[in-house]
Symmetry: C2
């Protein structure tokens, strides 16, 4: 029988009643003729509670013990859903990560899946089991200890199972009904996309449209796993949600797929940096070591051997970033006249596979913003994305204006 | 280094603060020179919550899934205590049942420990680890699925580890400070025993002094594991609690160790049963199959080929017992004139190893009850115990009078 992977996030299994509803969806797919692998998260709130206990017990915790404690939440959901399915006369059983086993690297709390042997579960399917309910987010390292994949890791678990078992599709059930052209809270013209290319999804996910964990999309792209995002709170509809798929599976893709934003950004500029080979490395290595998530980087034109270096990072990392570069200056590793931090910026991005073959998208974007009187502070571009930093107060306006200009409300 | 096993029950690890306090006790024993194996229960209330979820999800649950869900509580405590010990600079790590592995039978929810290989943990002790924190109550069956040992199974886990690792002692930390001559809530003269023989503890435990799980005492007796019961809420005292040990390790044992009671008993009599070989089996097999916990059994003198058969069971099982024997009568398996159930009885037992060599204990017991005007309804005796059923309203009076008469308040 064809295999379907279904993943239910924390809000979709938050209560016994929701586990019941999720189980009904699973039972329907069994009735549709699938053998189903269900990947479950912990019941909403559980993981936070467990993490809180770990952090209170040991602020600089041993990540191996963190993993042992935090992974327990998923195990509870897996057992409960298997029981619920059995109540519906669907042959089901639960699997904890180590039972499959989901083999991972030994990097605790941020492990990567290395291998998922399919024999055990396939043997059970062969014996008449119809649903394997697998605890997401977890695995086992070579030394036999439990690992976790990092927050949102259940999405990655789901895609990895879909790849390992050659699943027809991987359905990610969550609390939104799909991927939108932009955040519906900002533009009431936001439209749900029926399909979106992996590459576009990657840009949107990492830019703030937090529907899927980035790694899960990367993995799906590499193994060509068809990924569907849909709501577990809507009525059943075989065409619901958004299909994240290969570019070639999208018949007529629009030039621009969506407008993303990141609200709480800061722009930092090191004024008059001595420009020499290796200077970028000398600046950004200490920032990385200090745990600063540097996003955009722009180096202005060099004059008389000195340059201005501008970068963006989350606004709550500004103090840490200032300390890192000031310390580097004190050590004599770098030299600059001043640091200027602008904490009131937001990032707006226009994303679309079609940009590869269409020119003028950037020009149009700049024109739209200009007509609204919005000053652009920094620009970066990639093959399928253009991002700008603007004053935070114009963020909503910019998103709405760009959404209108690229006519994203139209299918 | 000598090995000590320490077990902390649910109330002793109910909060992060209590886990902290328990960890301090462990750290002290490490400082005393022990390598320590800690067996932990789930945080108080957790197991009940998980069991509630299972029962609500699936009233006739698959015991394998029950075990997978319910065992998660102990895993959380084990990880948290390992973290807390690390914070105190005590080298510690957690072990889940399957990691040791604690090998059990495949009887889910009521598994028995078959083997605990010591290599893994001993190797870690050899590398400098000082504390292995093991999740109690759980193990792994041959097929790789998680099992649990039944309620109170963490005591059994602790004793089994003490036996497997040749531990010097097994300390059971709980919410009482030892084993008493009787329930202090009933007699204010109740005295804590410094030592008690395994056999006495077994009789007391199964009779209502619910301090230790019966199976754990049986196991300790078989492997001669010195077992100490003590409170996790008292100040540290190396001589605290009650040592449950071999008869030979008790220098001067009193004739009577304690007075136990069971409040909610019922006495049932089948009137005028046709007396023939196999009749007892014909009556008690259907009762066992119906899940009735028959305790005392008395068969009166047979007259003219008929006899009265009396037995006791918990009062909430009377309806089930009546149905079982009535059904058996309907099938023609047994024959009797009537059933009489007395739901207002309690059981009082006097327990002591010394009875083996002292005569007259039974006579004294009957005399004491007689002087208080308490009528005895049923009597059974074993080598180290005499039990009687009396009207429930006299229960406290009987316990107090017997405690006084045997001078149990004196050491």
């Amino acid at each position: 029988m064809p295999i379907l992977v279904m993943k239910f996030g924390g809000t979709s299994v938050a209560t016994l009643d929701r586990i019941h509803r999720a189980s009904k969806r699973v039972a329907r797919e069994v009735a549709n003729g699938y053998d189903v692998i269900v990947i479950v998260s912990a019941m909403s709130g559980r993981t936070n509670e467990l993490v809180g206990w770990v952090e209170e017990t040991s602020p600089l915790f041993d990540a191996r013990e963190y993993d042992a404690v935090v992974s327990s939440g998923e195990n509870v959901t897996a057992g409960l859903m298997a029981l619920r399915l059995q109540e519906m006369d669907v042959p089901a059983r639960s699997w904890q990560g180590w039972q499959v086993p989901v083999k991972t690297t030994g990097v605790h709390s941020a492990a990567r899946i290395e291998e998922i042997p399919s024999e055990n579960i396939m043997a059970k399917f062969g014996e008449g089991m119809r649903v394997a309910v697998v605890a997401g987010f977890q695995g086992i390292a070579d030394d036999g200890r439990i690992t976790t994949l990092g927050r949102g890791g259940s999405d990655t678990t789901a895609v990895a199972f879909a790849a390992a078992f050659g699943a027809e599709r991987c359905d990610i059930y969550t609390d939104v009904d799909g991927v939108y052209t932009t955040d519906p809270r900002i533009s009431d013209k936001a439209r749900k996309l029926d399909r979106i290319a992996f590459e576009e999804m990657l840009e949107l996910a990492s830019l703030g449209a937090k529907v899927l964990q980035t790694r899960s999309v990367e993995l799906a792209m590499r193994y060509k796993v068809k990924l569907r995002v849909l709501s577990s709170f809507e009525e059943y509809d075989p065409n619901a949600g958004t299909l994240v798929c290969d570019e070639e599976d999208i018949m007529e893709s629009k030039v621009v797929a969506g407008v993303a934003y990141q609200r709480d950004e800061a722009k930092m500029t090191l004024i008059s940096v001595a420009d020499r080979p290796g200077i970028a490395s000398a600046i950004f290595t200490p920032l990385a070591e200090a745990g600063v998530n540097v996003d955009m980087i722009v180096q202005n034109i060099s004059e008389e051997g000195r340059t201005d270096m501008t970068f963006s990072c989350p606004v709550d990392q500004v103090a840490r970033a200032e300390k890192a570069v000031t310390d580097a200056k004190a050590r004599g590793d770098i030299n600059f006249h001043d640091i200027v931090a602008d904490k009131d910026v937001a990032k707006i991005s226009v994303v679309g596979i079609g940009m590869r073959s269409h020119t003028g998208i950037a020009a149009k974007m700049f024109d739209v913003l200009s007509k609204e009187g919005i000053n652009i502070k920094v620009i970066t571009t990639s093959e399928i994305k253009i991002s700008v930093l603007i004053d935070r107060k114009y963020m909503e306006l910019a998103v709405q204006a760009l959404h209108d200009a690229f006519e994203l409300e139209k299918a």
